[in-house]
């Protein structure tokens, strides 16, 4: 199976001088479902930011689709990022865009699809995930679960190869968690080369998630 993400001898220290990763090596392959766990402050979100090229490691290399992200131009990196769908812990839906516009955004920005097909795809994803509210409302006042549904639909809209879920299930009840996991499972299976990474604080948070392996961030290393 091809490597989609590779971390090589990674060393990363935050702006405040806290060393989070030392000599970290890890590989993530196509078709895999991987869990990453770590205590609060262990560097889970920093790892996500490093993979996306939003932070630079002091030493070591990060390869996305076999390309060293440090050697890429901004536009080339953006092209790779469109192949990665990320759902953040707080959903991070764009507050000044309406619900449907949030889901349409990656398609509008990155594709040449017609407005009608973009709208159709966004509407399909939202209704498939059980969104029953007004699609022309701003997402600010919506409950956390609904925002996560919108963020999930937005991340899935462009059909990325890699999906990363950053503490997606936090703050959700078991019924809501199982519902989202159902969509994630279905989405993972819809493409054989898809890599799914689920980030969580604790192994217990991943008990209902189907995973091939679980990695832990401990003492500045991935084990």
């Amino acid at each position: 199976m091809a490597k989609l993400i590779e971390l090589k001898s990674l060393y990363y220290k935050t702006e405040n001088g806290v060393a989070l990763f030392e000599e970290v090596d890890a590989e993530f392959h196509e078709g895999e479902r991987v869990g990453i766990i770590g205590l609060l402050g262990s560097g889970k979100t920093d790892l996500l930011r490093l993979i996306l090229g939003l932070e630079k490691p002091q030493m070591g290399r990060i390869y996305l689709f076999d390309k060293d992200i440090e050697s890429l131009k901004r536009s080339e990196l953006d092209r790779l990022r469109r192949e990665i769908g990320v759902v953040f812990e707080n959903a991070a839906v764009i507050s000044n865009l309406k619900v449907i516009e949030n889901v349409m955004l990656p398609l509008q920005y990155h594709t040449n699809l017609t407005s009608d097909s973009i709208m159709e795809r966004a509407f399909f994803l939202l209704s498939h995930m059980g969104y029953k509210g007004d699609i022309w409302t701003l997402p600010g006042p919506l409950p956390s679960y609904t925002k996560k549904v919108i963020a999930l639909a937005r991340a899935m809209a462009i059909d990325p190869v890699i999906m990363i879920y950053d503490r997606l299930l936090e703050g959700l009840d078991s019924h809501q968690s199982l519902q989202l996991l159902g969509f994630i499972d279905e989405f993972h299976k819809s493409r054989s080369d898809r890599l799914s990474i689920m980030i969580a604080n604790d192994e217990r948070d991943l008990k209902d998630v189907r995973l091939d392996r679980i990695l832990g961030i401990e003492n500045r290393r991935i084990v």
Binding site: L54, D78, R81, R82, I94, P106, Q108, Y109, S115
Partner: protein, 261 residues
């Protein structure tokens, strides 16, 4: 600290701000021009929204301020004209005061108050809520998607609002000048048009576009400077207002000197 050192530090800080803003505008617009087709629909939609919010929605407040200002200027002029040579001077004074100076400056101040603050707070809040990171994660460059369309939208709006402000101020002035038949509409307009030269129009339009670019860039720059703390939003918004006002007045002085000295 000596007065020269103090003045020097102000000039250096101004040049530094101007350099940073210039670089910010250039890199944002560059990111838009380079690979023009990417995200065109999403970006155009933001430009329309910005023009609607900054330009069209400001027409009502601009109308009132411009009309009142026109009346105030004509009132002052009429009160002193008998000493200096008749109603024909009204046009000259309106062109000198409204078209060369107050039109672009007042429109700029209104844009800062309404839209500069809103843009800085909006981007600041997006920063705090991780929305900017989410955009970057989607492969959407925030400079291209958030900054450039806002800067362009603000510049277009400032241009249109300045033109509108000047027309309304001149018409508002006539409300008073014409009242009691002191001066006919024809004489009033002719007096304005006679005085208004090509350079007056160019200077006024140039000022409005430059002010719009400055306001859009300063507001978005400060909005994006917000870190992870919500308390930084009002701080950066205030800084955006102060910097914009300062830069607008200084640049106004520079353009005036370039054109009329």
């Amino acid at each position: 600290m000596s007065i020269f050192r103090y003045l020097g530090s102000i000039v250096l800080s101004f040049l530094n701000d101007l350099y940073e803003i210039g670089g910010f505008v250039t890199s944002s617009i560059n990111s838009l021009l380079f690979n023009f087709a990417t995200g065109r629909r999403a970006i155009s939609s933001i430009i329309y929204k910005q023009v609607y919010f900054t330009g069209i929605e400001a027409f009502s407040i601009i109308s009132w301020i411009a009309a009142i200002l026109g009346i105030i200027i004509v009132t002052q002029v009429i009160s002193i004209l008998p000493f200096f040579g008749g109603e024909r001077l009204i046009g000259k004074i309106l062109v000198w005061v409204v078209i060369r100076e107050l039109g672009p400056v007042f429109a700029g101040i209104i844009v800062i108050a309404r839209s500069g603050t809103a843009m800085a707070a909006e981007l600041g809040s997006m920063q705090v809520n991780n929305e900017i990171t989410a955009l970057e994660a989607m492969g959407i460059d925030p400079k291209r998607y958030l900054v450039a369309p806002r800067v362009i939208g603000t510049a277009i709006s400032a241009l249109v609002l300045t033109f509108y402000f000047e027309v309304i101020a001149i018409l508002g002035g006539y409300l008073l000048a014409g009242f009691g038949k002191r001066i006919t509409f024809g004489v009033y307009v002719a007096s304005v048009l006679e005085t208004m030269g090509f350079m007056d129009i160019i200077a006024s339009l140039l000022k409005s576009v430059v002010f719009g670019l400055i306001i859009g860039a300063v507001a978005t720059l400060h909005g994006l400077r917000v870190g992870k703390s919500i308390t930084q939003i009002p701080q950066q918004t205030t800084k955006a207002v102060i910097s914009s006002l300062f830069l607008v007045f200084v640049v106004d002085g520079i353009i005036t000197a370039m054109f009329f000295m």
